[in-house]
């Protein structure tokens, strides 16, 4: 138990040091890379806290897609921030002290860390998730069982939130063709979404290009593996979608945005973004039509509720993976297609 505490404190110390460095650094590229480091150490901390699925997701999200998004925004805008004026620091410090103090005072009522008899562990639903799920659903990874089946409605809502965020980013960043195109300009034929860029194409880096080409099939295969294996080990739709998006983003970064857009043209992406949500909700509607409740997978296989649950979870996770991958890819294409501002 002491070793655990020591490791936890060490990881927390690294996190706090990184957070302080992020706050103080004015060069925003460095702050974005430090945020990526923060995410990786956070993933390690999650493993120490037994949250392997969460660590998987945090590593895929924080060290991959999130950093790319920050860096692409910094490429589009200025990368050095101004010094915070003194008149802003005092109110912020006061708010922080008050809030921190209140939280510390309230934390006395929190249960001891790691005790097996906390209200969270004693609740009857714990037994349902850990014990009854074996006969009701029959998959070893209880996190996937809870995510896709017991709390399936919540997950549908979260998927719709991701869908909405993706649509909103597309709305904000899609450059519509100018109604009055300058006469004779060659760009007037092509949509104004692809401005003329003299940027370095990463395909000039031969080693990077060859290695990326080598790794692409394995990355995509790994994403599919994570999706289908999410019932037996850490994994599932969210992680698979992020890994798939990371593979496409790698392809786009190394070989150029035009090639990547030819592989996944905009209409295809738009259809895929909606297809995942429709698949998820469609499974629910199919349950209704087959006589059960919304998202009650028991009725998918009449006579064997366990098989029905497993089929339902598989379909639902596939829907999640499709939408997450399509949203992240579309978001990256929107940012990258905006043009570099220097």
């Amino acid at each position: 138990m002491n070793t655990l505490a020591l490791l936890n404190v060490f990881l927390f110390a690294v996190l706090v040091a990184t957070a302080l460095a992020i706050t103080r650094i004015r060069a925003l590229y460095a702050a974005a890379m430090l945020a990526s480091l923060f995410s990786l150490v956070l993933a390690s901390l999650f493993v120490m806290l037994d949250a392997v699925d969460v660590a998987f997701t945090e590593a895929a999200v924080g060290a991959g897609v999130s950093t790319v998004l920050f860096l692409s925004v910094l490429a589009l805008t200025r990368s050095r921030e101004a010094v915070t004026p003194r008149r802003k620091r005092w109110p912020a410090g006061l708010v922080v002290l008050l809030t921190g103090g209140t939280l510390l005072f309230a934390s006395q009522d929190l249960p001891p860390f790691g005790a097996p008899d906390t209200p969270v562990q004693q609740h009857p639903v714990t037994d349902v998730y850990l014990v009854d799920s074996t006969e009701q659903i029959g998959i070893p990874n209880t996190v996937t069982a809870v995510l896709a089946s017991y709390r399936g409605y919540d997950t549908l809502g979260e998927l719709v939130v991701i869908f909405t965020a993706g649509v909103a980013v597309l709305l904000l960043l899609t450059r519509l063709p100018h109604p009055q195109d300058p006469a004779g300009a060659p760009e007037s034929a092509a949509p104004a979404r692809y401005p003329d860029r003299a940027s370095v194409v990463l395909a000039d880096y031969r080693v990077l290009r060859v290695v990326s080409k080598l790794l692409m099939p394995f990355i995509l295969l790994f994403a599919c593996y994570v999706l289908f294996h999410g019932e037996y080990g850490p994994g599932g739709g969210f992680q698979a979608g992020m890994i798939l998006a990371a593979g496409v983003i790698l392809f786009g970064l190394v070989f150029g945005l035009d090639v990547a857009r030819r592989v996944l043209p905009r209409p295809v992406l738009l259809v895929l973004i909606a297809a995942g949500v429709l698949l998820y909700a469609g499974v629910g509607v199919a349950d209704l039509l087959l006589g059960g409740a919304f998202l009650d997978y028991d009725v998918l296989r009449p006579g064997s509720p366990q098989a029905g649950q497993q089929l339902g979870i598989l379909l639902v996770e596939t829907g999640v993976g499709i939408t997450v991958a399509a949203v992240m890819t579309a978001v990256f294409f929107s940012f990258a297609g905006r043009g570099v501002s220097r």
Binding site: A51, V54, L69, L104, G114
Partner: protein, 140 residues
């Protein structure tokens, strides 16, 4: 008290660093990074509430009798992905604001919005990128 509550206190320290970054820094991207720091601290708080010392990850196996609780993991898993989606939305807003005002600093934005009535259509400063024509989507 320390051995039983130290994770919560460290989580609160992280939360406060993130909150300070959001409130006091004027740069929009820095605010978003601070917000994701705050988010991460909240995630750690939830996960640490479900941890059982001596237990293992909630993947059912032979011979294991004590598992950490799966419900916080479920909530935080979806929260992480939703967090990155909303961060992407925030970054898209920052890009549009930069196109309109030419800067990502709050104070500069207020100054430029204060000069003249047509702020978004006439961004000041030479630090606008070579976007060609103006913003066709912004109506006069």
């Amino acid at each position: 008290m320390i051995e039983t509550h130290y994770p919560y206190w460290l989580v609160f320290v992280l939360m406060m660093i993130g909150l300070y970054t959001v409130i006091s820094h004027g740069n929009l991207v820095k605010k978003l990074i601070g917000l994701s720091l705050f988010q991460a601290a909240v995630f750690i708080l939830y996960i640490s509430l479900g941890k059982v010392i001596g237990g293992t990850a909630p993947v059912l196996e032979e011979g294991v009798d004590s598992y950490s609780h799966p419900l916080p993991h479920v909530l935080i898993l979806t929260a992480i992905v939703v967090g990155v989606a909303t961060t992407a939305l925030g970054l898209a807003l920052a890009v549009r604001i930069f196109d309109a005002y030419g800067t990502l600093e709050e104070d500069q934005m207020l100054v430029r919005a204060g000069d003249g009535d047509d702020g978004p259509e006439d961004p000041a400063g030479p630090d606008r990128g070579p976007d060609g024509d103006g913003e066709p989507g912004v109506a006069p």
